[in-house]
């Protein structure tokens, strides 16, 4: 028989993993640096675990998790990113509400992303793979490939839009399946 702590651990993991991608996305929508997102996400996970109530329903957990993420992002902005670009409090709340409402889409989005990446032409897949590798600077990558940074940025965003459109089609198809 599992101990209460193990049960609590398992339940937390299940709930956390069900919301994890949405939380990442929410923080990314607020913070303009991917590194900042990682820092805040670590704090969010720690707070969620420390204050986790095993009696929570999954819906309660979801709302609570986005609230914690919002508070941690605000704290980060206050303590470490005061001089950086940032949205106002109202947008933090609006995006938290929208993200919590749409959080159920995440597992479908993940599955779809796998498929959509595989459908990309080889060159586009290589480009986005190279651009999102750790510690890559787009200006250096542009220089090395003989392109202008602007053309590379545009190419990358076109690929992102293509992936987003592909994922959306998959989501709609899954809804109607």
């Amino acid at each position: 028989m599992n101990s209460p702590n193990t049960d609590q651990h398992d339940r937390f993991l299940r709930l956390f993993m069900s919301q994890e991608e949405s939380l990442w996305g929410y923080l990314r929508s607020l913070l303009f640096s991917a590194d900042d997102v990682r820092d805040v996400m670590q704090d969010v996970a720690v707070v969620l675990w420390r204050k986790f109530d095993p009696g929570m329903s999954s819906e309660d957990f979801r709302r609570w998790a986005f609230g914690v993420a919002r508070m941690e992002a605000l704290a980060f902005r206050r303590d470490k990113a005061r001089d950086r670009l940032s949205f106002g409090d109202r947008v933090y709340q609006l995006l938290a509400d929208t993200a919590a409402d749409d959080a159920d889409e995440s597992p479908a989005q993940l599955r779809a992303l796998e498929v959509c990446l595989a459908k990309l032409p080889e060159r586009q897949r290589q480009l986005i793979q190279a651009a999102y590798a750790p510690n890559v600077r787009i200006d250096e990558m542009a220089k090395a490939t003989g392109r202008t940074p602007m053309s590379l940025y545009k190419a990358l965003h076109r690929i992102r839009l293509a992936l987003a459109a592909c994922i959306e089609r998959a989501r709609v198809a899954e809804e109607h399946a």
Binding site: T6, R28, A133, I138, L156, H157, A164
Partner: protein
């Protein structure tokens, strides 16, 4: 796809190029338009996921032990994601006391791990899962496509099952239309890989390239002294490849390397590994990966050989940077 002003604004914000005015403009749209909020969240979620995939892929490859069979069998981002999931699945087994720290990110673990002896970046991995048979036209005409002698993709075939996934390549015969007949005792397939996305690394002249492939033979299919091999040839332009023939590939390349031919055994349960590694010239832009099986023969002008049950699977290409010897 049309590139609208809003898309441009979103791109600047995601890519860290936003100005104060950009942020105010984005904020205004987010406050007033629920559909725009939803769209912004979706693209942000996608961007976050791409960053995480890139990071998990990088972390996994950095942690690849020197000289070991790679733990991550594919360089695709799907594989990167599976690695990330695997990391979290592993976390399910750890005690809850370490959870708050351990749960968050594998990258934290990598960051405090002892420094490795070498860096690895898997740039291509092919388990022949695409379903498209290789072309039978000699040298491949474009990157990402296998071409060469007669071969096909098969599923479980006789006594041999794919090493991974659902498909593997079966070598059929040492022949394609126009092939010099003296080469008919080997069945060779090649794939071009565009190295230009890694040019900024390769230009440092400090990276090597490692190619690994696995081979197997079904029981009773070996007729003589049969061997397998892998090789790599790098070029500075695609034109150099199109001008080459299989025979002149070596002469037209900037650099090449092949492993010592390995005698095939008839143990259908085990796959034999062939690996080669060589230092990349700084100008390298394209790579031709070669995998082949052959029968040693002293006889000249034999008809092209038919291979009865010879397979290849899991061909991977990895950039390797080894530390300088002190």
């Amino acid at each position: 796809m049309k590139f609208t002003i809003a898309d441009d604004l979103i791109a600047r914000c995601l890519d860290g190029r936003a100005t104060h005015d950009d942020v105010r403009q984005l904020e205004s749209q987010l406050e007033g338009d629920a559909d725009f909020r939803r769209a912004w969240l979706r693209i942000a979620r996608l961007d976050a996921l791409l960053h995480r995939l890139g990071r998990s892929r990088g972390a996994a490859l950095t942690a690849e032990p020197l000289g070991a069979v790679p733990l991550l069998e594919a360089s695709s981002w799907q594989a990167g994601w599976r690695h990330a999931v695997g990391t979290r699945a592993l976390l399910l087994m750890v005690g809850y006391a370490g959870l708050a720290i351990g749960i968050v990110f594998a990258s934290v673990v990598w960051a405090v791990a002892p420094q490795r002896a070498a860096e690895y970046r898997r740039i291509d991995s092919d388990g022949f899962e695409t379903g498209a048979d290789p072309q039978v036209t000699g040298l491949p005409a474009k990157p990402g496509v296998w071409s060469g002698d007669q071969s096909e993709l098969v599923r479980h075939d006789g006594s041999v099952a794919p090493r991974s996934g659902n498909r593997m390549l079966r070598f059929a015969s040492g022949w394609y239309e126009g092939k010099p007949t003296q080469d008919g005792q080997s069945c060779d397939v090649l794939k071009l890989i565009d190295l230009r996305p890694y040019r900024h690394q390769i230009a440092t002249g400090t990276w090597s390239l490692r190619i690994t492939a696995f081979f197997n033979v079904s029981t009773g299919a070996i007729e003589g002294q049969e061997q397998c091999s892998v090789a790599g040839f790098v070029f500075d332009t695609a034109t150099a490849i199109s001008l080459a023939s299989p025979v002149s590939l070596r002469d037209r390349s900037l650099a090449y390397a092949c492993c010592q031919r390995i005698d095939l055994d008839e143990d259908a349960d085990t796959w034999q590994q062939a690996t080669t590694e060589f230092r990349l010239p700084a100008e390298s832009a394209f790579l031709a990966v070669h995998c082949g099986v052959s029968e040693y023969s002293r006889e000249a002008d034999k008809p092209p050989k038919r291979f009865l049950g010879h397979y290849c699977d899991d061909v991977s290409v990895t950039l390797v940077r080894r530390p300088d010897v002190p």
